[in-house]
């Protein structure tokens, strides 16, 4: 046997595959979209509130899908509740030093916040159709959204939980003994930056699809460009921190990382965005589509390249 570049080469792969890849991607979108919506509600222009509503509309269904993906990935899906309740004592099961344990609780709490904000967004849009829900709508649901005091509290707590959901998945990978994942402490930061860029891209696409001409849209474009730059910088730091472990990417996964994530998912959208701004074209959607593809490919490369060692 050739000398292994790291002690992590002696561990076994946990068989985390597509369910987990999509959870990382969709969970990142849920956290990022909620956070951006909360920032718009707390600090943004009143006229941009429809943009924030889109964020809340994304976050709640995305959390539901995330929970479903995680449950389906279990080898014993019907035991999903063992993550939260200790099976023998029926006491709460909580290990603050286990990212998967805290993550399960965080997803539950984040789900509650996204649900409240989802209802508030529906009420603001006057889209609550159910007669039963309508009875609570005024002023009930609207109170759950800023500028009310309760709404501000929901936005702050939900935003913090959203950040956690967007970033903890990288820390979960780091707290293992697998190649690449546990050979760098920067995956949480990388996933967070990626969640911010992909969420901004999704909100841009949804807003343009809804034909919303909002001043916040141009701001979101600029924010997304900076997040792509941040993601590239953090990815560079990840590569540097891996040292000799980088040889795990001297294969098709490395090619996908360079061409798919860095090229197609970062450099090309940045260039297109820059050109569009110089030409005065405010509403180009291609960069946002590419950023979303790049964000998914990033998770594909990170998960499967380690699984294949």
């Amino acid at each position: 046997m050739n000398a292994a570049p790291s002690s992590t080469w002696f561990s076994d792969a946990p068989h985390w595959q597509w369910y987990i890849v999509f959870y990382f991607f969709i969970g990142g979108l849920a956290g990022g979209c909620y956070f951006l919506a909360a920032v718009i509600d707390l600090f943004g222009r009143r006229v941009d509130r429809p943009l924030a509503r889109l964020g809340y509309y994304v976050a709640f269904p995305a959390v539901l899908v995330s929970g479903l993906l995680l449950t389906l990935d279990l080898s014993r899906p019907l035991r999903f509740w063992h993550m939260l309740i200790e099976r023998n004592t029926f006491q709460p099961m909580f290990k603050p030093w286990s990212p998967m344990s805290i993550g399960s609780w965080a997803l539950l709490f984040f789900g509650a916040f996204t649900f409240m904000s989802f209802l508030a967004a529906l009420a603001d849009d006057d889209r609550v159709r159910s007669p039963l829900l309508r009875r609570f709508q005024r002023p009930g649901f609207r109170v759950l959204r800023a500028p009310s005091t309760i709404g501000r509290i929901v936005a702050v707590l939900g935003g913090v939980a959203g950040f956690y959901i967007a970033g903890y998945t990288g820390i979960l990978l780091a707290v293992t003994n697998r190649p690449i994942w546990s050979d760098t402490p920067l995956l949480g930061m990388l996933f967070l930056a990626s969640a911010a860029s992909t969420s901004a891209a999704l909100l841009i696409l949804l807003a343009q699809r809804a034909n919303r001409q909002l001043p916040g849209l141009a701001d979101l474009h600029r924010f997304d460009d900076w997040m792509i730059v941040l993601e590239l910088l953090v990815l560079g730091a990840v590569l540097w921190s891996l040292g000799p472990v980088l040889q795990a990417w001297l294969n098709a996964w490395g090619v996908l990382l360079v061409l798919g994530v860095v090229g197609l998912g970062s450099i090309v959208p940045l260039t297109l965005s820059f050109r569009a701004r110089r030409a005065g074209l405010a509403h180009v959607t291609t960069p946002a589509v590419l950023v979303l593809i790049g964000g998914l490919l990033l998770r594909v490369v990170i998960v499967f390249s380690s699984e294949s060692v």
Binding site: S7, W16, L36, G44, S98, M189, L192
Partner: protein, 260 residues
């Protein structure tokens, strides 16, 4: 409270008979691979290949032969869960399915495990895997049921050469050190103990006498706890959150009159 119990495996006297593998399978009622169909590895006399959910003992065949096969040697090692004093699997398990017993061994409770597989990624030795029958993570229990009944584990009981020895950790360490001294006196200078002291993960309750580098046996030279990245990873993530948060507020804020 019983003393900490474990295994000391002297690889120099293992003959590769696999009696330990068979005894483990029989006692723990572990199914055969592929319904018992004969599956050969094709490039080694080792057809078990690895520890997993259905193989809690595995006799590794390290075949050190040059291409012309004029010289060479076999290194044989019966591998098993190390029952680490600082166990990464136990640390990350989100359901509490993995417990430390009164014998200081590490056991997965199959009725609690939900198959999240975090423990598989956390184990630095690649010991744990999903058992396809129970669909839960499984590994050696150091025959917890036998220990509770005052019996020794099935594998060490079956070992015909005393390569696998069972006992209290303090007694096993004395026996192992005496054997290392004996081998050194006989001219085998390469003999050493792997995981016998508390420097490696607080001590391995299943430790080994080896005569080559750990990685030759498929053992990590420097196994680490998975939580080593928890604090630094969290600090970097918080730093990232602050950067993203400030950037989002800067770009999306209401600029008021300044904007007009």
């Amino acid at each position: 409270m019983p003393e900490p119990m474990g295994f000391y495996t002297d690889t120099t006297v293992c003959i590769g008979c696999k009696a330990c593998e068979v005894a483990c399978k029989e006692w723990n009622q572990l199914p055969s691979t592929n319904g018992g169909a004969n599956t050969l590895s094709g490039d080694s006399y080792d057809n078990t290949r690895q520890l997993d959910g259905m193989h809690w003992r595995h006799v590794k065949f390290v075949e050190q032969f040059p291409d012309d096969r004029t010289d060479g040697r076999w290194l044989l090692m019966s591998d098993v869960c190390k029952h680490c004093v600082q166990a990464g699997c136990l640390e990350v398990c989100p359901t509490g399915a993995i417990i430390r017993t009164e014998f200081d061994t590490v056991v997965i409770q199959s009725n609690t495990c939900n198959g999240c597989r975090d423990c598989i990624a956390a184990c630095p030795f690649g010991v744990i895997d999903i058992n396809p029958v129970s669909n839960t993570a499984q590994k050696c229990t150091l025959c917890y049921d036998r220990l509770q009944g005052g019996l020794e584990p099935a594998c060490s009981k079956a070992c015909p050469t005393q390569s696998i020895q069972f006992g209290t950790i303090s007694d096993l360490r004395k026996r192992a050190q005496a054997r290392v001294d004996q081998l050194h006196n006989a001219g085998e200078d390469q003999a050493y103990l792997y995981g016998a002291d508390d420097k490696m993960l607080g001590g391995l309750n299943s430790f080994y006498l080896l005569v080559d580098k750990p990685d030759v046996y498929g053992l990590p030279p420097d196994p680490k706890m998975p939580t080593r990245n928890l604090v630094t990873g969290s600090v970097y993530a918080v730093l990232g959150a602050i950067m993203v948060g400030l950037a989002s507020i800067f770009h999306l804020r209401d600029r008021g009159a300044a904007e007009q």
